[in-house]
């Protein structure tokens, strides 16, 4: 059993809001963690019922596909390239 790295955990979430694993993922997040919304999970951005963590990013192609680019704040959209960079920086990753 190890110490969590300073960078926190990278949580990669692909389930739509309301999915049990979507709920479980948000509940498992700590302050220093980062949430990345991909695939169906990007629907959390326009969802008025979801309160997202401070450090939330979303995959740009998934937002664009669903007509949601306008719902992301500046700097919140990431490319696949940036996703790879985030996985470089985070030794600890959970795919939900």
């Amino acid at each position: 059993m190890n110490q969590i790295p300073d960078t926190g955990t990278l949580h990669i979430l692909n389930k739509a809001p309301g999915h049990p694993r979507f709920v479980a993922c948000l509940a498992a997040m700590s302050n220093q963690d980062t949430l990345i919304l991909i695939e169906n999970a990007v629907l959390a951005l326009p969802d008025t019922d979801t309160v997202l963590p401070r450090q939330t990013l979303a995959l740009e192609p998934d937002l664009e596909a669903r007509g949601l680019s306008g719902t992301a704040e500046p700097g919140q959209q990431i490319s696949h390239q940036q996703l790879v960079q985030l996985t470089e920086q985070h030794p600890r990753i959970i795919s939900w």
């Binding site: 990669i12 692909n14 389930k15 169906n40 696949h80 996703l83 790879v84 996985t87 470089e88 939900w96």
Partner: protein, 136 residues
């Protein structure tokens, strides 16, 4: 600046039933472009359907198994379908066809069939193990 890392990608979502193979392929391309190494792609559970040579989507639609095959061959990345997952779901190579006396084999090149030990090996040797699940 960035260091070179090694990755194992595990795909558990099936093509057409999920976005997992597409997301994984985009990630894999970005990882290679970023100077990283892919140790292995491991198909598990429903993910094994990606290795079928018999998928024939309409010509104006994307062909995920074909795209994955091309990517794996071009970059010489080993790809493995879990044997237990594959046999249950009707995914067999010639050896398994003969062993179980099945009427055909349908494992797409360059995928191979092997056990979960390959996944365990990935968790031990790769710097990162990324999972691509279905979203249902």
């Amino acid at each position: 600046m960035s260091t070179t890392l090694s990755y194992t990608l595990v795909i558990t979502g099936a093509p057409w039933a999920s976005q997992a193979p597409q997301t994984a392929l985009a990630f894999a391309r970005a990882a290679i472009a970023g100077g990283h190494r892919l140790d292995r792609v491991f198909l598990y559970g429903e993910g094994v359907h990606l290795a079928s040579s018999l998928c024939a989507p309409p010509s104006d639609e994307p062909h995920w198994p074909q795209q994955w095959s091309d990517f794996l061959s071009d970059n010489q990345i080993p790809a493995v379908a879990c044997v237990a997952s594959a046999l249950r779901r009707g995914l067999v190579d010639e050896r398994e066809q003969n062993r179980y006396q099945l009427p055909a084999h349908n494992l797409r090149n360059p995928f191979e069939i092997a056990g979960l030990g390959e996944w365990v090996d990935g968790t031990l040797k790769s710097d990162r193990v990324m999972y691509f699940h279905g979203s249902a």
